[in-house]
Symmetry: D2
Subunit: 226 residues, 4 copies
């Protein structure tokens, strides 16, 4: 039997970041998928999104366009955009889900975040701040909901192929390949299927003891959960 047979799964921003890879695998594994294709995840939108019933599993997959800036050049609007796209919607989503999932006594929230804040990346401090807010929020949420049989965890990835942060044209650049050789023990960028498999593990019925965990998936670029 497929692992997610008849499980109702909501994937946010399903067309971006790790959405496509997760949707593909979860569909193969029998999930009844409900895909959302982006928005502000306002309370109204979330009500609409959840109107058809509480999902068994929610994949909180949020992304924002990549940014690079030295500290002194961070722009207010770029900073704001990261929190608007990554941090506030995640809080609203977990807020909307936690009451009903607690009441039902069952549920899973799997967030795709980033390993960037676990190690820290120069010229990406704004991104690290926003992803760090996500990771810290999820850790606390995971501990809070554990006793209600609701599992919240994060996949803190880096060097995984996706159209948002590691598009094909970047991967082909020689400078990027040199960077990989120097900084990533695995010497490669992983396929999106690797993230999907980790999400599948977290989504499985036998995964109840892993809670509030920020799981690095980064080819050894970082191995601690910082």
């Amino acid at each position: 039997m497929a692992i997610l047979q008849d499980k109702k799964v909501l994937v946010t921003s399903a067309g971006d970041y790790m959405g496509p890879a997760i949707v593909e695998l979860f569909r193969q594994e029998g999930a009844r998928l409900s895909c959302d294709y982006g928005g502000s995840y306002s309370d109204d939108e979330l009500r609409a999104l959840l109107a058809s019933g509480l999902p068994d599993i929610v994949v909180a997959n949020l992304a924002a366009p990549p940014q690079t800036a030295a500290l002194e050049n961070i722009e207010d609007q770029d900073w704001r955009l990261l929190f608007d796209k990554l941090v506030d919607p995640l809080m609203r989503l977990v807020r909307a889900l936690s009451g009903p999932m607690k009441e039902r006594g069952r549920g899973k929230i799997i967030a795709v975040t980033s390993a960037a804040p676990l190690r820290g990346i120069p010229h990406a401090s704004a991104y690290c701040a926003a992803r760090g807010a996500q990771n810290s929020f999820l850790r606390a949420a995971g501990l809070e909901l554990a006793k209600y049989n609701v599992q919240v965890n994060a996949i803190a990835q880096n060097y995984v192929r996706n159209s948002t942060y590691y598009p094909d044209d970047l991967l082909e650049k020689e400078a990027f390949q040199r960077h990989l050789q120097q900084l990533v023990p695995g010497k490669k960028v992983a396929e999106g299927a690797e993230t999907a498999q980790l999400a599948l593990y977290l989504a499985g019925p036998h995964c109840t003891h892993m809670v509030g965990q920020i799981l690095p998936l980064a080819g050894g670029w970082t191995t601690t959960t910082g």
Copy 2:
């Protein structure tokens, strides 16, 4: 000779959180203190604050009133307040300082943050998110500025006496004392002087190799930098 003799030190929100304890010790150690007593740390305010010259050392001491809420009860305005008081001002402060400190080839930024996001606290997920954003931002900033001889670090404390989060009337409660016995290996709340001493270590002229570090100071409540 006093350790901070003639060092120009700016302490933000000097009347709140760990401000008073740090001001007292730094004054004893010869610092020329410039104290700010709160505000929004807008770019304009920061310009005024730095108009009298670039400090050698900045203590980024920011606090917001304590909040407790189950995930489903987080209020938008409470969430916003935490980011407005803790996260955005820290970014603006580091942004304003990093250019001039890099150019001068010397500087220290010591932030007082929290250990809460390192371990995670149920019913304090909003606070964990905001303090986690701070810690992650500071780690990245510390790595970015290290090669310019500018050291950025954070004191991630918990269970330290201060008027904002651990006021005297809380410490006297029996329920709180039971909580301490159960959860804190050191079985006590530390005096503010402990934070001040760690800040003094970080402020010292011989501390250049510690950068981007989030230092737990929490009586063993957490020992990892999560």
Copy 3:
């Protein structure tokens, strides 16, 4: 198709600790299992164990009888036993496997260790030392072998049912149940199947980007990889 169809898997100390749970699930998933039932894992024994061909996957499942002692009461022979049973055999096993797996360009080593050293446990400092040696060794080994397409990771568990550390009679004690309520966010001991599922994820063909990772599986007792 079963996930481990036709994969040759060696499980060490298959009758102890997490051996039985892992063997059961891996068999269901089609693995060709080779079980070892304990010993010293000397170089000679390892040669015999590997004589029938290099496994695709090795589960390094090692355990030693539980010990508790205040620091001043640690006995030399108890200390020695922990390193003899947990640390040295793990090194010899990885040493024996790494050359052939590198040469083949493929392999997986999945160790079952402990979350104890990630947080630290009073009166279990000897155990923490030995499990910490394992975790640190595996992290380094994982980074070293990553570029050869050999993945080394550890499951750092706590509060999982097993006959060695969490036998049924312990779990039934009232004092233990109180301890669970106070210290474990999930408020329960997990079944061995949870460890087996995490091992299965790590054993899967699509798991190549997770390397050198010490994965806490502890019901939220610890969430950082310390």
Copy 4:
């Protein structure tokens, strides 16, 4: 007044590793030093070492000659040497001190270990294992002794000048300088005085709330306590 005025301090292996730098600073700060110049730290030796009275502060400074080896080339005697020189003596030292320090209700143990196991270093897995055993042992010991007003902490350093691991002739090599530029955010090796200053902070009378902590001091090479 000097910070360590009249404090009785024992420094182990005072001629090796960080001994000379710590001795120099602690002497300036008024400590009454008792230096040991190496040995096996057997129980008999420890009894002799402590016969003249229980120190206020013990600096557990242990080192072993550097080793490098691929996993498949680890020699039993090299592996054994690391545990004989770094791990077992540390246990015996803490074991000998913990009873008397608990009884007295006061004491400090400051270990100089390594940041290597916090991040993991290929071809140094044996060293990572031994230093990881130290760090994990100290974390547990620190939590166990905290309530007796005995503080145990570790300085987990890397890229600090010392005759054992970073001698002058290594630092002058061009290959090493390139390595520094690529992997260490601070782009330099620190002087031994930096370690001594951190040890001084930990030795100070106002440092009681930091316990069981493994403090990275590594120029940003690692910032998490993994």
